[in-house]
Amino acid sequence: MRSLREFLSLLSGTHERAATVLAMNRRNLHYIYTRNERRHFPLADDKLLAKEVLVAAGVRMPETYRTYSYFYQLRNLEQDLDANHDFVIKPAQGSGGNGIIVIVGRSGRDWLGISGKIYTAYDLQKHISDIIFGVYSFDLGDRAIIESRITQHAEMEELSPLGLADVRVIMCDDFPVMSMTRVPTRQSDGKANLHQGALGVAIDIPTGVTTHARFLGQPIDRHPDSGIPLIGRTLPFWPEILELAQRAARAVPLKYLGVDISVSPDGPQLLEINVRPGLEIQNVNERGMLPILQAMTMKETSQDE
């Protein structure tokens, strides 16, 4: 059995930026379809289901305060929400960060969103109804999750003052392949979505040091809003992040995964897992990930024989 440390030393070896981009067709055919059985997809698509399995395996995740599956459960919503000062409402089967409302506190009888928006009880009830109805899930119905809001580690807050940054680690056969952190900007409107204008900052897996950054398809070395340098920073709790990613990957029968983690002051927490992780991470890292994947598979084959 290879240890994580052993694998990291393999990765730190010289890797040329050969014409080795993992592209969509090969990703789907050789990595997603062969490693992620279709019947296990719901595990990644349904955050509640994933949470159940992952938390049972000892993966740290935001605490679930409450879930809503039926409209009648919304009758006492106001009282229900009174129990917590700040929280996040998200659809169990949402994607791309859609349908998520982050509440940071109260504003009189209403609630205060992270962007400063005021939500009335009716607004939240309507939003949760929409979630249950399946507006954000392309499905017939969904469940709404109310969970604890993650606050960022001070170093992450410095790197990402405009919202929660997440660390994406691509895991193949339970080992990390490539990583980056996605940093919301003014352009991305607080969302950690690269296509909407979030920063992508590449992280060297063995060291946890940021190596490259990309903003709107162009290389960049300073945060476009705050101006702080993006390169050469060491992520807090990096070994713990990798450990959490591996623990999560081992807990599910999905063997090609994007694992999204955020770093709170007392350590990393897993946000979600993704069975179809995007390819832009290669541009952010300024290298293709095929050699790493192939090196891993080759090693596997040689060990088997």
């Binding site: 040329e16 930026r17 050969a18 014409a19 080795t20 981009v21 592209a23 969509m24 067709n25 090969r26 055919l29 050789h30 791309g96 859609n98 309507k126 109804s129 929409d130 109805f133 399946g134 507006v135 296509h195 909407q196 390819l279 290669q282 541009n283 300024e286 290298r287 293709g288 088997d304």
Partner: protein, 541 residues
């Protein structure tokens, strides 16, 4: 390892299926070509015309009769796919050896009523060579007697016509070729063409020195009959893409056992073009109807190319025969056109797959482009694209308005669907009003898919911005155009209609594309720095 074994078995079966999908259709095609001697030249499509006769009356409570002639299949023209949509009117069709008549009858007609009769026509160009030494016979079989007598509009015995004929054909015993050539040339060159639709008899045409088709044709028949050459009027339609009211008349002369056509308006001597449709023989009126009902009509002709008849006939003995396939479909009332759309859809899907997986264009829906392209077959590409854009735009706007109203999802989708239907109806009615009949066929668009697409457009616009929507819409239009080019290609159509087994090759190509792991063209652009950058480094070191 069990996993490896199943992987090996999977690859074996993949290769086997791929081989079957390639070899089976190729052997069936080869069998057709070499054993059944299928004529490859038959792949070159022949023109076919869809003719719609559209009639309208205004009733005031009276009984209304409308009468006209329908084309018959003969050695030159074939008529099929006839469709009668006559609403309150009942149709009665009578056939005699010469003509096929239809009468529509309805009682107590009130308000505006329409009748639509449609058929598909394939016709050949025919040309006769009249031997120069052929003389006019003294007598003919009794059956031809009626083609030699005078008629009210064909005053063959009138002295003025006789005198004119003497000047045009002076010889006492002229050869037939000489006589008809002189008559034809005189009518063509010395009588001016007049483009008016009224009735002109032979004598009037002669006196005026000008005439429309019916006047010239009556004069031709009168002169031919006077020379003892049996002749008759032919009423019909010159089939050209578009809408028209004018029908046409030409003549046929009975020469050496053949009815030989002459048209002295368009100068066709002993020949008839492939776009002439014969509707009736004799000095008859094309439309007869109850008086004072404001009768209106027009012909709407669309030209398309179809596989040649004889090529289809060549396979008629085979169980693999495509005409048999037609017959199956026709038995349940599915038109050839729909069959063609069905058969071309896999090609459109294949084109879409190539654009998505090899080129890497993002489109709305996987097969929306192919479906829109097949619907656009009826409207033409331009109107299809315009219609698609209008529908998507209007429903995306409606979707935003509904968002503002804060409705639940399913009722909202139902409103979107209704909106798409209404927009299509408005475009259809507007198209007819403006005379853009192509637009009227917009109703073939896949409504539910459009509603879902409109929903997705609105969602994407809200989440990722109008720029992203515009980008994907543009990509979708490119793929629609490509699908249209392939699906509307007559060669591809004839090929698939003649060798439907080639659809298996489409499956084979998809099987191959399904295992293709190359970098998509758009990805190459996206990752060009990673791909090309490394090559530059290699060169430097």
């Amino acid at each position: 390892m069990a996993n490896t074994n199943s992987g090996g078995a999977r690859r074996g079966i993949y290769i086997l299926v791929l081989a079957i999908m390639v070899l089976l259709p190729i052997s069936v095609t080869a069998y057709k070509l070499y054993v059944l001697d299928y004529p490859l030249a038959g792949l070159i499509p022949a023109p076919s015309y869809n003719v719609e006769v559209s009639m309208q009356v205004d009733g005031h409570g009276e009984d209304i009769n409308i009468h006209t002639y329908l084309p018959k299949t003969d050695s030159r023209q074939s008529v099929d796919n006839e469709q009668n949509s006559s609403g309150a009117f009942t149709a009665e069709i009578k056939s005699d050896p010469l003509n096929r008549e239809v009468s529509w009858k309805a009682e107590n007609v009130r308000g505006q009523q329409g009748i639509l009769y449609a058929y598909a026509v394939r016709a050949r160009h025919v040309r006769f060579n009249i031997p120069a030494d052929l003389t006019i016979p003294d007598s003919y079989p009794a059956a031809l007697a009626s083609y030699l007598v005078a008629e009210p509009g064909i005053q063959k015995d009138d002295p003025q016509i006789e005198a004119a004929l003497r000047r045009i054909v002076p010889a006492e015993k002229p050869a037939i070729l000489d006589a008809v050539t002189r008559i034809h040339r005189h009518l063509q060159d010395n009588l001016a063409n007049r483009n008016f639709s009224g009735y002109t008899d032979a004598l009037t045409a002669l006196k005026l020195g000008e005439a429309s088709c019916n006047g010239k044709s009556r004069l031709f028949v009168a002169m031919a009959r006077k020379l003892n050459i049996p002749a008759r009027l032919v009423g019909g339609l010159v089939m050209q893409q578009g809408s028209k009211r004018t029908s046409h008349q030409w003549v046929e002369a009975y020469i050496s056992g053949h009815w030989v056509p002459f048209d002295t308006i368009n100068d066709h001597f002993a020949e008839i073009p492939a776009n002439y449709l014969t509707l009736y023989y004799g000095d008859l009126v094309l439309f007869k109807h109850t008086a004072n009902v404001n009768f209106q009509y027009f012909f709407n002709v669309t030209k398309q190319l179809v596989p040649q008849r004889d090529a289809e006939a060549a396979l008629s003995q085979s169980a693999l025969n495509i005409t048999n396939l037609y017959a199956f479909f026709e038995r349940v009332g599915i038109s050839q056109n729909l069959l063609k759309i069905l058969l071309m859809l896999p090609l459109g899907a294949l084109v879409t797959v190539v654009f998505r997986n090899v080129i890497g264009l993002e489109t709305f829906g996987t097969f929306l482009p192919a479906l829109i392209a097949s619907a656009a077959r009826e409207t033409g590409l331009l109107w299809g694209v315009i219609g698609f854009l209008v529908i998507i735009l209007v429903s995306a706007v409606v979707r935003r308005a509904l968002d503002w109203l804060q409705l639940l999802h399913s009722p909202k989708m139902a409103i979107m669907l209704t909106t798409v239907v209404i927009v299509m109806m408005v475009m259809t009615v507007g198209g007819v009003q403006l005379g853009l009949f192509e637009l009227a066929h917009m109703t073939l668009f896949p409504i539910a898919i459009l509603a879902i697409t409109a929903e997705r457009v609105a969602l994407m616009e809200a989440e990722q911005g109008a720029l992203k929507v515009a980008h994907i819409t543009f990509m979708t239009l490119i793929v629609i155009a490509a699908c249209y080019a392939v699906m509307d290609s007559l060669f591809m159509q004839s090929l698939v209609l003649a060798f439907p087994e080639l659809l298996l090759v489409a499956i084979a190509l998809n099987l191959w594309l399904g295992k293709w792991i190359g970098i998509r063209v758009m990805e190459f652009l996206r990752f060009r720095r990673l791909i090309l950058g490394s090559r530059e480094m290699d060169v430097k070191t």
